[in-house]
Each structure stands twice: as structure tokens, then as C-alpha cells.
Amino acid sequence: MKLSRKTKEALSNLMAASRALQKEEGVLADGKVSVEEYLPGGVQHGRSGQIYVHEKLRSEVEKNTARVVSLYRQAELSAFSSKLEGKARELEELGRIGFSRAVFLDIESTGLFNCPTFLVGIMFLSGDDFVIRQLFARDYSEEKCLVEAVSDLLGGFEAVITFNGKSYDLPFMADRAVYHGTRFSNHMFHFDLLHHSRRHWRGTLPNCRLQTLELYVCRRRRVGDIPGSEIPNVYHTYVRTGDPYLLVPVFHHNVLDLITMSELLAELMSMEGLVRRSRRASAGWRAEMAGMAG
């Protein structure tokens, strides 16, 4: 166990002290510092306490929204008449369910297993814009409420769209529910973009990570984004210090992931002929890949 010299000395003092120790009250710092200043939103009350919710429209942060919305509406229409085969039929099913009843989901957690999740971003089509809602546990004690809120929220949709959510996001949430002795119900249709991306791009792209797809397929490069590996520490530091400024890049990262996921879906739909090939995404990456191959 690596401990600081100071702590080792303190342990040593405990060793020296006799066995009977008076109970001393632990120092409880108040972890609940306002996030509002940087990330406007409000407190949501749930069965097991509270969480913080930050919400915005996609058009507030991204110019392309209208184009993506129109592609999605197109797909909803053509889904009923198309005859896709195999795995691609999942795309049809998604279109038939409709994008107002399907929700994109991406979680941020502090590690890969048995550790808290703290931010769950969801995005769904509402009228002619996407609603982006980020549910946030301001400290570890709010996680149970977060899990329940997400569970309730998913209950209002018929499909969930994730990137690697079949292996990661949803089992992770289910695990956290077990941890907190609560339920996480999720029996809805699950469209996992990773599986479809692999079908199309495995072998042609260096790998099928979200940010790789973002670069080659969406032709977008992130600037100033926080690397995913740093996120867990940012959250732990936030909980310790209560400095909400630290969170801004994490929330932003989560939004970018959601947006990229929706663009990937649009590209998949166009590749399967469910929608008209969008000019922007069409020749672009193929030309680039051809160039790389040459």
C-alpha cells in the first residue's frame, strides 16, 4: 500500500496508542457545490435523493442540426418500404419506431468496473431539434438517484442507441443498480452503433473507436477535447474540491460523443440506402481512404 509519509506516521501513532480509542467524528466536507454557474440547469428530485440536470437544444451548440433532423425524418418514412437484409434490418426497425421514441445514450464513469458513474447524456428528437439532457451526480452519494432517473427516463422510450452500449454502458448501469440495491429496467430495442460500424469499416479504418470514426466518417477533428482517460480523475477531484469549472470539458466531451453517434447513424442509414446520400459524408472518407491506400 503506497501511503504518504505523513499518513504512515499517523498510522504509527495509532500503533503506539493503546487499543481503546475514543470515537471521533469524521470531518465531513460539504461536497455539494453549485454547478449552475457553468452548466445551467436545476436539481431533479427522485426516489433516492437528488441529481443535477443540465439541458440544451442541439441547435444551440451545432450548426448541422437541421440537416441531421431532416435525414432522420426521411429515414422514418423510407423504413416502412425498404427491404434491408441481415443486421441492417435493425436500421429499419429503428426507423419504424421513430426517432422521437429512440434515445441516444452515453455514460461517463470513473473506470471500467465497480466504480461510480456520474454523468449520463441522452439525446432524442423533439420537433425539429434534438434535446440534449445530461444527468449528473454531484457526488458519489447521488449515484443511486442517477441510476434510477436514467432507468425511469429510458422507460419513456422504445429504443436506445449507443456506441458499444451492449458491452459497456447498459451492463455498467445494471451493475450499478445491483450495487445500490435498486432496479435498472431495460428491455427495449437496443441499437449498438459499434456493431454496425465494425460491419462497414473494420479493415478499412485503423480501428473502430468512436473518435476514429469521427475523424474519417464524420470528417471532424476534436480540438481541445479532454482525453477520456483523464475524465475519472477530473470527477474525483471535483468531488474532493467542489470546483465545478473542472466539469465543463467533461460535459462537453459527453455532448460531442452524442453528436458523433447521431452522425454515424445518419451515415449508416445512407450507406444502406435508407436515406439519400448526404453530400458531406459521401465521397469524403472514401476518397481519403483511397488516397491512404495509394
Binding site: L14, A16, G26, S141, V239
Partner: protein, 790 residues
């Protein structure tokens, strides 16, 4: 049947003892009387299916201790069973577990074993029961879950098994931190079986006790409160140890209802070689001859050695001797030791059990409960260091009510020779205490981190983790490891805390030994600490008696490259140990002597090796090596005697260094009384290179230290007073293992005495005089009496 001896043991012994050569060697014979079986009716009786199955497996009516166990289990009690080897301990928990599986819809059980090999062994025993009965076969879904388990099997076991066999390390790092995946299993956990608890002593035991605290906490999270069934070999304090390990009130079952045949316990001393009476005949050769005689007479025998090399040597010599009689006899013995591949070991165990093998030469690898059935005779070569271990090895001999033989062959070592001179000492001593200290703050700090990772720490957890819980949690919060929110403390780091807590003092790193001439085929393994003492460059590595030449030891990849090479010698490493003071902390003057608390680096390495010819044992070469030193950085306390004091002792015609050695040995014996550790958790050395004068160093045998030496520093007064009463009250005349002599003084952290040599028992008188003088001086300085130390 291969197992029926051609002559009765009595006849064999008579023929052995009638020869003058043997009579000369036998120093003592203790006759241990036979014991009748005690049976009892179980009420209500076992389910018909279960009792049928037992009958088919050849289990007769239940012994009283088994009935007692089943009754306690049915009553919902937790208990510990302490009965002899081959007394049917396994049934004491297998029957309750199977009963609950057959009657309850959902009832799961964890079986925890100190080694993976034991788990495999017990899995087979369960499998045999499942094969005999369809219903049991249907209900029982068991498997081992450890480092060797494949990923897909792990998942299947988590989802479907109701009996999981594992080890404390896996529980600690591979199960508890992932408890959400085990929610089904934990929710219906009815039994936790912990086998061979005498292995959980000292630092290892203190760690395991904390793993069990964490296990109980996770259980209560899922709403279960399992019963604990523990088993132990004979130790002085089994119930106390069981309660410390589990934190629960335990019932004790110690009346052994199994029958035992009469046993002869023989103390065997190799004769002197010369008239000067200095050199004795080699214990290895003596033991080999004894083994050969026993095997030839059809007596199934197990020989225990303290070292891997010795096991290989005895095997090699004995099989050569036996080959002279017949090829069949040659193939009827095999060596067995740590470092053999699992499949080799399973094969040997099976052959031993079936009676195909008449003899096996083993290190203490077989000491821990692997079921090979009872044998006719056991031969222990060299006192294993503890009374408990000696009895356990002897317990391998004895099959039902048949007569059995156990022999202790002495080394020409002070302790072994002491036992030969005073055999009654051995039979009078009760086996050693097993001590654990789960509340040691250093150990607790690591486990509270691991616990916080698993579930937030709450005020009620104090009931499990003890009175230091809040204090240490507070320190961990200052350190930024945990964060308290509303009376709950959450793990607030990204690292995985269980990874930095090692349960064992022995590193669990292993080296692989590969045959460089056969595509680097793996032929064995060795733990990381022993590797430089076993497979150093140019070492002869012995495997099943065959000689392999070590080409290269790759310490980075942890691989030893060996190749088959027919040579007529083996090699023996020469070790060098030293202690270097790293830093000095507190310091005080006590009775005119300086006492210091600080940090030290204890190092050791194989610095050379000797080539020794087989049979003649003549040394035919010596070569120095340049291997890196192994390090143990730990806390240490040292006592620096003043020049005047040493001079005074010398003036009295005594050797102060011998006195200091005696004091050091006694300190190691008494410090456990004050700091709740095992004798093997502390080490000591007399050294003058650091302070310029002979100094007694006492250190913790654990990286970073665990506060044992520190306690000795604080309580130097009490510790040395206790040493004085120990040596004064000891009834021996010139010093014995109970006072100034101490059998184990290994510098390394591990306890595998591959390279073993004893130390002379230091003068009792000198130690006693020096201690008396110090305590008189102390009393003069502090008239209020010696108890008022800092």
C-alpha cells in the same frame, strides 16, 4: 492389491530393529496407543440419497465429530473442526452443504483453500459424490474460480454455480471488488467453508481476516449472513484463531471420533563418522536407506524434506538403490514438490492414492491437506521448525486401525540434536499458537481502501473493522483516498486498491523453468524469491531426479532456461545476507544503552555456488556469481550496547556476541506477545557494520513494515524483562529452542528453507547475565520499576 504390504509393519520393524546398526541410531521410541472409533446416530438421519451415496463411496457409519458437525450446521451455528489427518474432516462440511443443496431451492457455498491445488483436490471429491447420485449430480454445480480459470468459465460459474472453490487471494482481488456480478451468488450464500486455517497465521492470517470482514460486509449488502465452517490442523488455539478470522462466535469440535491404529514415533540420529564425534553420517543418506528398506518390505512411505534439492537427491539415490533390486521397485517411488507442473502433481497424488506408488519424497507441499489416503510410514528429514508441522507430517502415516510408523531423522544441527537429546521436550510441548492481528493499523488501512472501493464505509462497519475504523478512515480521507459524504466514505480514486494489497508475505510472482533444447517447453515453476537460489546460471536443476544445466536466468522475463545434461554432481548456492540502515527515526537511552527506531534494507543474494558430487558429497568446484540482491525495505529497531557494557561482559570471560545472539533469539520469541504477530513475521540479525559495534537488529519481515519492531522499541523494557523471565524460568541447563535457541532465522521473506543451516544454540548463561545486568541498571535509573516505560 498393490497396497497390501508383503510383511506386516511389525515384522518389518522387528527386522530393522534387530540389526545393531539400526539400534545404534534409534534414540527414542514413543508408542502412541490405538484409539477406537466413536460413532453416533444422527437424528434426523441423512436424506436417503445422500446416505446411499456415502455408502457407495465406501464411507461407513458417521464418526461422532462428523455427527456433531452436521448437528451444529443444521442448528445454524458456525464452528471449527480440529481433528486428525484422515479423520473425515471433509464430510464435516460437504454433508451440510449437500443437505442444504438438496433441501433448499437456493443455497450457495464458498470453499476457501490456501492453495489452488487443494481446491482442485476438493473439487474432485465433490465430483465423486455427484457421479454416484443423479439428484446430487443435478443439484450440484461446482467449480474452481481462481487465476487459472478461463474467462468464459468464470462467467458461467458466476451465473450458475452453487459451490465455488477458491482461495483468499482470488476473493480479495478477483471476486469481492466485482461483487455486483456475483449478486446472485452472494444473495443466497449459506455456507463459507475455510479449510486448513492454521495456514492463516501472522501477516497472511491478518490479511485474510480482513478479506473475510469484507466478505461479510458484501454478504450483508445482498441480505445474506452465511454460516462459517472452518477446519484446522492441531494448533494450540483453534477456536480463538477461528473467531479472529471470522469475527464470529465459533463452536469447537475437537473430539476425534475416527479410529487410529497404534503408532510408533521414532527419533533417529545418524551415527558419528569419526572418533572425534564431530561429523555425523549424512541425514540424506540415512533417510534414503530407511526409505529403501521400508519400500522393499512393502511399507508405503512418505518422506518429507525441508528443501526441494534434498527431495530430488533422496529420490535419485533411492531409485538407484531400488533399481538394483528390480525395475518395478525403481518405478514405485517418485519425488513430489512445489514447482512441479499441476498435471504431474495430480498424477503423483493419484498414484499414491491408488497404491501404485510405494514411496514418495516430498517437500512440505504435501503437508497441506491434499487427500492421498493414509500411508504406512512417514519419515521426516530434519525438524521442520514447528511442533505443529512435525505432527502434521507424522499424521500422514496411519490408515484406519492399522499400525503406523513415523520417524524423525535428525540433522546435525543444534535444534535437531537438542531434540535427540531431549525427546520428551517434543512430546511435552503443545503445538504452537497461531496469532493474527487484523486490527494492525497498517494492514487495516489497505483493507479499508479495498472495502471503500467495494461499498462505501459506513459507521456500522466499525462492528466489523474494529475501533480503529473511524480514525483510519479519517486519515485515508486526508490522503484523498476516500471522501466522506453524509456519514458514508466513498473510494475517490481511479486506482484499484486491492491490487496494492498483497495478502502473503511471499511474493506470488513465479518464474517459469523451460527446456531450452525442447522448444522452451515448460517443465516447472519456482517462486520469484527462491528462483535465484534454485536456477542461478550454471546451477544443476533437478527434476524427477534428472539433472538439468541452467543456461540462463532471465530475471526480467522471469524465465530460467535449462537443458538436459547428464552430470555427476549437483549444485548448492551460497547466500549472503546483510542489513543496511536507511534512516534513523526516534532514539532513546535505555539502561545506559542506545535504542533506535528506523528503517533498514535487508538484502540477500546467491553470491556463489558449490558443485557437489553425488554420493561421495565431495566438493568439486566453487564459482562466484553476480546476481542482483533481493531487497526487503522495512522498519527496524536496534539496540546498541555501550562499549563499557561489552567490555564488562568480556571481562567476565564471556563472549558478548553470543549473549546478544541469545537475546535476539528470545526477543523474536517474546515480541509476538506484545505486538500480536507470528514469530515468522519478524527477523533479527547481529551486525556491527552499521554502528561500528555489535548491535541487535530486529525487523519486520514485510515490505514497508507493519509496526512489530516499532512496538518492540516502545516496549523495550517489557520485552527485555520478558526475555529475562523466559531464560530464567526455562528448565534447560545450557540453552534450548524454547529460550536462547531458535530454529528459523531466514533473512528472506519466504519460509521455504531450500538453503538451510542451523545456528549453534548460544550460551544461556551469557544471555542471562547480560539481561540481568541491563535490568538491574534500568531499575537503578528508574526506581519506580521497570513497568513504567514510555
Amino acid at each position: 492389491m498393490a497396497r497390501t504390504p508383503t510383511a506386516s509393519l511389525t515384522e518389518t520393524l522387528e527386522s530393522l530393529f534387530s540389526s545393531p546398526a539400526f539400534r545404534e541410531r534409534v534414540k527414542y521410541v514413543k508408542r502412541l496407543p490405538a484409539r477406537e472409533a466413536v460413532h453416533r446416530e444422527l437424528s434426523p438421519p441423512l436424506l436417503p440419497g445422500l446416505s446411499e451415496t456415502l455408502k457407495k463411496l465406501g464411507v461407513g457409519p458417521l464418526y461422532s465429530h462428523q455427527v456433531e458437525a452436521i448437528e451444529l450446521a443444521r442448528a445454524g451455528k458456525s464452528f471449527v473442526v480440529v481433528t486428525g489427518t484422515a479423520s473425515g474432516k471433509t464430510l464435516c462440511y460437504n454433508i451440510p452443504v449437500l443437505e442444504s443443496l438438496l433441501t433448499a431451492e437456493r443455497a450457495n457455498a464458498f470453499y476457501i483453500f490456501p492453495t489452488k491445488a487443494l481446491a482442485q483436490d476438493q473439487l474432485k471429491a465433490l465430483g465423486r459424490m455427484a457421479r454416484e447420485d443423479e439428484v446430487i449430480g443435478e443439484r450440484l454445480r461446482s467449480g474452481t474460480y481462481d487465476g487459472d480459470t478461463a474467462q468464459h468459465t468464470r462467467r458461467k460459474l458466476r451465473e450458475t454455480a452453487n459451490v465455488i472453490l477458491t482461495n483468499p487471494d482470488m476473493l480479495h482481488q478477483g471476486i469481492l471488488p466485482y461483487h455486483t456480478r456475483w449478486s446472485r451468488f452472494f444473495s443466497d450464500l449459506k455456507y463459507v467453508i475455510i479449510y486448513e486455517i492454521h495456514a492463516y497465521r501472522g501477516i497472511f492470517g491478518s490479511n485474510v481476516a480482513n478479506v473475510i470482514r469484507r466478505l461479510r460486509r458484501v454478504c450483508s449488502h445482498y441480505g445474506s449472513d452465511p454460516q462459517f465452517v472452518l477446519c484446522s490442523a492441531t494448533i494450540r488455539n483453534p477456536r480463538e484463531l477461528a473467531q479472529e478470522l471470522t469475527g464470529l462466535q465459533m463452536e469447537l469440535i475437537s473430539r476425534d471420533g475416527s479410529p487410529r491404529g497404534p503408532k510408533l514415533f521414532v527419533f533417529w540420529n545418524p551415527p558419528f563418522l569419526d572418533d572425534a564425534r564431530m561429523e555425523r553420517r549424512s541425514s540424506i543418506v540415512e533417510a534414503k536407506e530407511l526409505l529403501v528398506e521400508l519400500v522393499k518390505s512393502g511399507t508405503q512411505t512418505i518422506a518429507f524434506t525441508k528443501a526441494r534439492v534434498v527431495a530430488e537427491l533422496i529420490y535419485r539415490y533411492a531409485s538407484d538403490d531400488l533399481a538394483a533390486h528390480s525395475a518395478a521397485l525403481k518405478d514405485s517411488i517418485r519425488p513430489y514438490r512445489a514447482g512441479y507442473l499441476p498435471e504431474e502433481r495430480r498424477e503423483i497424488e493419484r498414484q499414491l492414492f491408488s497404491g501404485e506408488l510405494m514411496g514418495v519424497v516430498s517437500t512440505n507441499a504435501l503437508e497441506l491437506g491434499i487427500d492421498v489416503g493414509g500411508l504406512d510410514a512417514s519419515v521426516t528429514i530434519g525438524f521442520p521448525g514447528t511442533i505443529a508441522s512435525t505432527w502434521q507430517q507424522a499424521g500422514r502415516a496411519g490408515r484406519g486401525t492399522r499400525e503406523a510408523l513415523s520417524v524423525l531423522v535428525a540433522y546435525n544441527d543444534p535444534i535437531d540434536q537438542y531434540l535427540m537429546r531431549h525427546p520428551e521436550y517434543f512430546f511435552r510441548q503443545s503445538p504452537e499458537n497461531a496469532v493474527v492481528a487484523p486490527d494492525n493499523p497498517y494492514i487495516l488501512a489497505g483493507h479499508l481502501c479495498a472495502a471503500a472501493f467495494e461499498l462505501p464505509i459506513e459507521p456500522r462497519d466499525r462492528a466489523l473493522f474494529g475501533p480503529l475504523t473511524e480514525k483510519i478512515t479519517g486519515l485515508l480521507e486526508q490522503e484523498g483516498n476516500v471522501k466522506g459524504i453524509d456519514e458514508k466514505w466513498y473510494w475517490s480514486r481511479t486506482d484499484f486498491p486491492a491490487a496494492s494489497v498483497n495478502l502473503r508475505t511471499i511474493s506470488d510472482d513465479t518464474y517459469t523453468i523451460v527446456d531450452a533444447k525442447k522448444d522452451n517447453k515448460v517443465i516447472g515453476t519456482v517462486d520469484a524469491i527462491s528462483a535465484p537460489e534454485l536456477v542461478y546460471p550454471e546451477a544443476i536443476y533437478l527434476h524427477e531426479g534428472e539433472t538439468y544445466f541452467t543456461r540462463k536466468l532471465d530475471m526480467e522475463q522471469k524465465i530460467a532456461y535449462v537443458e538436459r545434461s547428464e552430470v555427476d554432481y549437483y549444485t548448492q548456492p551460497v547466500l549472503d545476507t546483510s542489513l543496511r540502515v536507511l534512516g534513523q527515526g526516534r532514539e532513546k537511552t535505555w539502561a545506559g544503552q542506545k535504542v533506535v527506531l528506523g528503517e533498514a534494507d535487508v538484502t540477500w543474494a546467491t553470491t556463489a555456488f558449490k558443485k557437489i558430487r553425488f554420493y561421495t558429497l565431495e566438493s568439486i568446484g566453487y564459482k562466484t556469481l553476480d546476481l542482483p540482491f533481493q531487497h526487503l525495505e522495512t522498519s527496524s529497531m536496534w539496540l546498541i550496547p555501550s562499549a563499557e557494557f561489552l567490555k564488562a561482559v568480556r571481562g567476565g570471560g564471556k563472549n558478548p556476541i553470543e549473549g546478544l545472539a541469545g537475546i535476539r533469539n528470545m526477543m523474536i520469541n517474546v515480541i509476538p506477545l506484545f505486538s500480536m504477530c507470528d514469530r515468522q513475521d519478524i527477523g533479527g540479525i547481529i551486525d556491527s557494520s552499521n554502528t561500528g559495534t555489535p548491535t541487535v537488529f530486529i525487523y519486520d519481515r514485510f515490505h514497508g513494515g507493519l509496526g512489530f519492531a516499532e512496538k518492540a522499541y516502545e516496549l523495550i523494557d517489557e520485552v527485555l524483562s520478558a526475555c529475562l523471565s523466559l531464560v530464567k524460568e526455562c528448565e534447560c541447563r545450557e540453552g534450548c529452542p524454547s529460550c536462547v535457541g531458535l530454529p528459523i532465522l531466514r533473512p528472506a521473506q519466504h519460509q521455504d528453507p531450500d538453503v538451510y543451516h542451523g545456528w549453534p544454540i548460544p550460551s544461556k548463561e551469557t544471555a542471562m547475565e547480560m539481561l540481568s545486568a541491563l535490568l538491574v541498571e534500568r531499575a537503578r535509573q528508574a526506581p519506580r520499576g521497570p513497568a513504567s516505560s514510555s
